[in-house]
């Protein structure tokens, strides 16, 4: 933070493997590596996206399994984004990032799956609309 003027040091030597990184920030890699990662990430993402669209519009799988397959493809693509575009890795310099991500995912699953489970049961216990006329007052 004694960087109130233009930082004179070349970036390659400033942030290295011994310090934590934030996601999406890996200046120790040179530009070539970064672009390569982006290219690989784009490639995989395009494949997964095309696969998902193709699957949704086709009949090649047992129909009830298609939503499951689509979700698997989506999770895979999210993983591709995280690894290739955001550089979230399992290195010790990324531990905090992975833990934070895991915590966030836990909350997401609790909220979404918990709500679905709870509301499904509540809805199941509601008086069916056809019987509403029988309910007194």
């Amino acid at each position: 933070m004694s960087e109130s003027e233009f930082d004179p040091r070349p970036y390659a030597s400033v942030l290295d493997d011994r310090e934590d990184h934030a996601p999406g920030d890996e200046p120790v890699e040179d530009t070539g590596h970064w672009v390569l990662n982006s290219n690989i990430g784009l490639g995989f993402s395009v494949i997964l996206t095309l696969a998902a669209f193709a699957l949704a519009n086709s009949q090649i799988m047992y129909a009830p399994a298609i939503p499951v397959a689509l979700i698997v493809l989506a999770i895979a693509q999210m993983g591709v984004h995280l690894v290739f575009f955001l550089h979230v890795t399992t290195g010790p310099d990324n531990t905090n990032n992975v833990l934070a991500l895991a915590f966030g995912l836990l909350v997401v699953f609790l909220v979404v799956l918990g709500s679905m489970w709870i509301m499904h049961h509540i809805a199941g216990n509601m008086t069916p609309m056809s019987r509403m006329a029988d309910v007194p007052f």
Binding site: M1, S2, S4, D20, N96, A100, F103, G104, L106, V107, L110, V111, G114, S115, W117, I118, M119, H121, I122, G124, N125, M126
Partner: protein
């Protein structure tokens, strides 16, 4: 031109809000006049309003919280007295449409604008000091957070004299809160006040998670952090995890109300029960956000005033993280009766019982901390002992409520009301009182008067039980909550006893005020000259009182679990302080008006959205955006404190510590 706002929004026909508003406005004008006459504005502007210092922001949060606690308490007095008066043929003095606003305001203010600001204020003040660093990760964001919370509090208070407040309780369940059944502005006041302050709180959570994980002084690994910092971390994680749920749910309700959408309506596919589900997915972790830092305060107090390190530090950390995670898995216990069925109810009932294990571990650790120590019955220790007794009973009633069949009988009865006041007052409020007494000298340089502190404690403790124990009985006798009128005369003796308790609590509040006045008057006698008035164990006690704006002249290098205790013992053993460090210039963040500015425009935007004055809302939003851009364009973020100023402040600190060392040596020599 002015949307729904007309002159009839002012409660001309309702004497209580009218007179209250008049009095408040007069007091406000008086304060502003006093500050102007005494020319305090430059000082206030420079040192407080635009400050990004975590200590100043912490004090402002606590001040906001205390003032709002008093307003919430006034609502409580009105509720208890109304229920004691309106029995049988008598109607009391608060008509239902007014009483409903009182209990809604009471809950909203106490939780969002009383307890949360106080807890966050403590987190703000203490965390960087305990971590041995100079400020939080994002100091300007911290200032924005505070001012947004203040903006929300202002909106709630404006509702008293312009318009009305919500009548839906502190959580506005649909369909009552939908525009069909609450067409007025009350629910909108609630929504915008809570949304604006919720954004502030979320930013606080982000700030503290980052600070605690990424900014600690050298040597302070995770397992060397003080217990309060661990609980602040767990609470901040919870804030980051669940406040977005609050934002999303209230946004959905706002869309329903403003634009006629159907998330939670009764018709066209809306699902009111989804609101209840989502809001409690926020609401339960919220109470753990309040209580975990309270537990942290108690950990500090118990170890300091028993003269022993905290018993079972590792298990305390485990218990804290356990509570943090499991608190997000129990929320259905707030609506067992909504019909999810036995399987779902059983899961959440078991989880709610299991979470008590974490707290049990903590209670035993505190008791074992006292065992074998030299316990000093100071004011903070009294509050802590009162907490153990009160909170354990409240927690036990909680486990009773966690059993779904039992909950079916007492859900939304006075038993529930007694339970949650038991744990919130016994847990959070007692902790805040203990913490205020404990850390007041660190913030202001002089201790609080002990006699009045003990008086205040006893009034509060006795008053609490006299107020709330009858409510347990009333709940079991079948009384539901939020009643404006009582039809059963057999409840009368309990209601009267409760009002007597409120009277005792009023004496407690008065004692606290007297304590403050007396302490300020006698501040030279109560001055804390060394910075360590209680023989403390964590790093904040290494600084002078009040702490200098840069906290530490040299960042300490931590070697053991109780960072300051080791340093102190070594100094006492060797009869001297460490050598004078090499003083270097320090970088500190500059003050910024952006917090205050954002809050002004947030208030304008919120008020205009409530009253549907669309052009004013646009002005507010555009103004806020311009503020962001101007702030983002600034070139100067930090300034340097020259080394000799750092040296001057620190040498004064060392001189005071040397004097303390000599006093300790004399004491040891004479014993």
């Amino acid at each position: 031109m002015f949307g729904k706002l007309t002159w009839s929004a002012i409660p001309w026909e309702q004497p209580i809000p009218l007179i209250t508003s008049l009095v408040v406005v007069l007091i406000l004008l008086g304060v502003l006049a006093l500050v102007t006459v005494k020319r305090w504005w430059p000082y206030l502007w420079r040192e407080w309003i635009t400050s990004v210092d975590h200590k100043r922001i912490g004090v402002m949060y606590c001040l906001l919280g205390v003032v709002m606690l008093i307003r919430g308490f006034a609502d409580a007095i009105m509720m208890r007295s109304q229920q004691a008066l309106a029995i049988g043929t008598s109607q009391g003095y608060l008509p239902p449409e007014h009483y409903d606003q009182v209990f809604s305001a009471h809950g909203t203010i106490m939780i969002f604008f009383g307890a949360m600001p106080l807890v966050i204020g403590f987190m703000n003040f203490l965390t960087p000091l305990q971590l041995g660093v100079r400020d939080v990760a994002f100091p300007t964001l911290n200032s924005v957070s505070f001012w947004l919370t203040a903006s929300g509090a202002l909106l709630v208070n404006i509702s008293l004299f312009v318009g009305e407040f919500a009548r839906t309780g502190w959580l506005p369940y649909p369909p009552l809160s939908e525009s069909t059944y609450s067409p007025g502005v009350g629910v909108d006041y609630y929504l915008w006040a809570v949304q604006i302050s919720g954004i502030g709180t979320l930013m606080t959570g982000i700030n503290f998670v980052t600070t605690i994980l990424k900014m600690r002084c050298p040597g302070m690994s995770y397992m060397r952090m003080p217990m309060f910092t661990w609980t602040a971390f767990a609470a901040s994680l919870l804030i980051v995890a669940v406040f977005p749920i609050l934002t999303a749910t209230l946004a959905m309700l706002s869309l329903d109300r403003f634009f006629g959408w159907h998330f939670f309506t009764n018709d066209l596919g809306g699902n009111p029960m989804m609101f209840v589900n989502l809001i409690w997915a926020w609401g339960h972790p919220e109470v753990y956000i309040l209580v975990l830092p309270a537990f942290g305060i108690f950990s500090e107090v118990f170890s300091t005033f028993s003269g022993k390190p905290l018993f079972g530090y590792r298990s305390m950390v485990m218990a804290t993280l356990f509570i943090c995670v499991v608190s997000m898995m129990v929320w259905l216990h707030h609506f067992f009766t909504m019909g999810a069925g036995p399987a779902v109810n059983a899961f959440f009932g078991i989880a709610s019982s299991v979470i008590a294990v974490g707290t049990g571990v903590k209670i035993y650790n505190w008791i074992f901390t006292m065992y074998g120590g030299r316990v000093r019955f100071s004011v903070p220790m009294l509050w802590s002992l009162g907490f153990i007794f009160t909170f354990v009973i409240g927690g036990m009633t909680g486990v009773m409520l966690a059993v779904p069949p039992a909950d079916f009988l007492v859900h939304n009865s006075m038993f529930l009301v007694a339970h949650f006041h038991n744990v919130i007052v016994g847990g959070v409020v007692f902790a805040l009182m203990a913490g205020i007494d404990f850390w007041f000298p660190k913030a202001f340089g002089f201790r609080l008067h002990e006699g009045w502190g003990k008086t205040a404690f006893w009034f509060a403790f006795v008053g609490f039980w006299v107020t709330f124990a009858p409510l347990y009985v009333l709940g079991l006798l079948g009384m539901t909550r939020r009643l404006q009128h009582i039809n059963f005369p057999q409840w009368t003796p309990w209601l009267y006893m409760s009002v007597v308790g409120v009277g005792i609590l009023i004496l407690g509040v008065i004692s606290q005020v007297v304590q403050l006045v007396v302490s300020i008057r006698d501040r030279e006698k109560l001055r804390d000259v060394t910075g360590d008035p209680w023989d403390g164990r964590s790093l904040e006690w290494a600084t002078p009182s009040p702490a200098p704006f840069f906290n530490f002249a040299v960042m300490p290098n931590v070697e053991g679990e109780e960072a300051y205790w080791g340093i102190k013992l070594r100094a006492i053993e060797t009869q001297r302080l460490g050598p004078e460090p090499q003083y270097e210039p320090i970088e500190m963040p500059v003050n910024s008006v952006v917090g205050f500015y954002t809050a002004v425009f947030a208030t304008v935007t919120g008020f205009s959205l409530i009253w549907q004055i669309w052009w004013l809302a646009a002005v507010g939003l555009v103004g806020a955006f311009i503020g962001f851009v101007v702030f983002a364009w600034r070139d100067v973020h930090e300034y340097h404190v020259p080394a000799d100023e750092v040296a001057r402040v620190d040498r004064a600190r060392r001189a005071a510590r040397l004097a303390l060392l000599e006093r300790i040596a004399e004491r040891e020599a004479s014993t």
